[in-house]
């Protein structure tokens, strides 16, 4: 439908949250802002992100954005997180502009996670 508020990619990632959950012994970031609650967990091996998981309380765009992030950053270098931009997700998932603030919460969480990863690897 042309007036569907959710893009096919949002629907796909919202319905298939394969990265929902927690990781044992991971570095984790918690954030609670703008009506969004997030937790991102990551394990790192040889400087690369081995696994990513998320927990989220938020609208479908936030949940889909978390899943999209996990799908795209597993296997990437830890420092790549510093280049994460909310605008990339906004564009890829066709997130409406009024939800920018919520996606920026994810950006904050990803950057915090990047800083934590940069400061030391997971045990």
């Amino acid at each position: 439908m042309s007036d569907d508020p959710y893009s096919p990619l949002v629907r796909k990632h919202f319905a298939n949250t394969e990265h929902a959950g927690d990781l044992a012994g991971a570095i984790a970031i918690n954030i609670d802002e703008q009506g969004v609650r997030l937790r991102l967990s990551a394990t790192v091996k040889n400087g690369r992100i081995q696994s990513l998981r998320f927990r989220a309380w938020g609208c479908p765009h936030v949940i889909a954005a978390c899943e999209w992030f996990c799908c795209h950053y597993e296997g990437e270098p830890g420092e790549s997180l510093s280049g994460f931009r909310a605008s990339d997700i906004m564009r890829n998932l066709s997130v409406p502009v009024e939800k920018t603030g919520r996606i920026l919460v994810l950006e904050d969480a990803v950057r915090s996670l990047g800083q934590r990863l940069g400061g030391g690897s997971a045990p």
Binding site: A20, R37, R39, W57, G58, P60
Partner: protein, 387 residues
């Protein structure tokens, strides 16, 4: 017709009864003439309208001459409230209404406030009902109109129209009722009820969209000034060429509703009981309104620790509403539920299930199961997310 969804949004709109569709087509084929024309075709069109007026009048137990055709409940509310307030403005400019009215009512009062009227906004109790004594206390010597809805479109809460209307009569205050969710669904006898103005729309009771009516009681001091101008139709109260086909559809929908109101109510009561039984033991689920005294076609529930928009998407293909359909694109929590004391988060998680004639027990069982699964999944997704 094959469906790939389960429709539980009958408070937003109902499908047109096939008999109504057939009746409207008859009018389009042979009664299409302008009903204001004096030739034989025009007279046929007028006859179709007169028959519909009798059918609707029978449903409400009123004189057909007291009915004014409009485009729907929004226009009826505008005409009834603004028209009556202006007609009586030489006597006073104080008006009374309820915070939980439909936007078609509240926005008219907001507009009247800007035009110099003073409005008292009453707050209902947490169960959504208005204490008639609160209304009585709000009335003043210069009060000219009170408007209280019959059945709330979001919660199904029913107000004590008889008690409220009696208080208005005692104080010579006109009483308008937005009955968009009530007409054709519950028995309404306007000979017995002290109501002066009543708004209705056909598409809430299996008639077509785009047609409604305003009842104006034939009693001293009860009249409305027009809000539209341009012709002499309907005693100049609501000018414009009448859509005879839509009116005929409304009339037949009213006749059908009258013949089966009790059966419909029994059906809806059974469906709501089954739906509630299927979800009531979910931890943190709350009924918005009063399940005992509310209209049985609506069940509005909130649930703690679940985000409303995600819940709505997770429920697909169950068609339900988060707030009133007119407001569903808004990100704002429902003002109706906030007025009932719900927090922003609880209001935002609210889902309105509304059942209708075609709804089956199988459908409400599927909806209940889907709701349980959706709540469980979203809670699992959020479990242990930041405190």
């Amino acid at each position: 017709m094959a469906k790939d969804f389960i429709y539980l949004d009958y408070a937003a709109s109902t499908p047109v009864d096939p008999r109504v569709t057939e009746r409207m087509q008859e009018c389009r084929d042979s009664g299409f003439a302008n009903p204001s024309s004096n030739h034989v075709a025009g007279r046929l069109s007028r006859a179709n309208i007169a028959r519909a007026a009798e059918q609707l009048a029978a449903l409400l137990n009123v004189d057909p001459a007291t009915l004014i055709w409009t485009s729907g409940a929004t226009e009826s509310d505008n005409l009834g409230i603004a028209g009556a307030a202006r007609f009586r403005s030489h006597r006073g400019k104080h008006l009374v209404t309820l915070l939980t009215e439909h936007k078609a009512v509240t926005d008219v009062f907001r507009m009247l406030e800007k035009q110099g009227f003073e409005v008292t906004w009453l707050k209902p109790a947490d169960d959504g009902r208005l204490d008639p004594a609160m209304l009585a206390a709000a009335l003043r010597k210069d009060t000219q109109l009170a408007s209280i809805m019959y059945v709330n479109n979001e919660t199904g809460v029913m107000q004590d129209i008889e008690a409220i209307g009696s208080i208005c009569r005692e104080h010579d205050v006109l009483f308008h009722v937005d009955a968009a969710q009530a007409v054709g669904k519950i028995a309404i006898d306007l000979q017995a009820l002290p109501v002066d103005l009543l708004s209705l729309t056909a598409h809430k009771f299996y008639g077509p969209k785009g047609i409604g009516a305003l009842y104006i009681a034939d009693r001293p001091g009860c009249h409305v000034e027009p809000i539209l101008f341009g012709g002499g139709q309907q005693q100049r109260i609501r000018p414009g060429t009448l859509p005879a086909d839509l009116i005929a559809g409304l009339g037949l929908a009213a006749e059908i509703a009258q013949s089966r109101i009790d059966a419909d109510l029994d059906h809806l009561n059974a469906l709501r009981r089954r739906l509630w039984a299927g979800i009531k033991d979910i931890e943190g689920v709350l009924v918005n309104g009063d399940i005992e005294s509310g209209f049985p076609g609506i069940l509005n529930v909130s649930v703690v620790d679940v985000e409303g928009e995600s819940l709505l998407l997770e429920l697909e293909p169950i068609c339900v509403a988060t707030g009133s359909a007119c407001n569903s694109k808004s990100q704002e929590p429902s003002y109706v539920l906030r007025a009932l004391g719900r927090s922003d988060l609880l209001a935002q998680s609210a889902i309105r299930f509304s059942m209708g004639r075609p709804t089956t027990e199988h459908e409400v069982e599927l909806a209940a199961r889907r709701y349980r699964e959706a709540v469980a999944r979203l809670r699992d997704l959020a479990t242990a997310a930041a405190t």
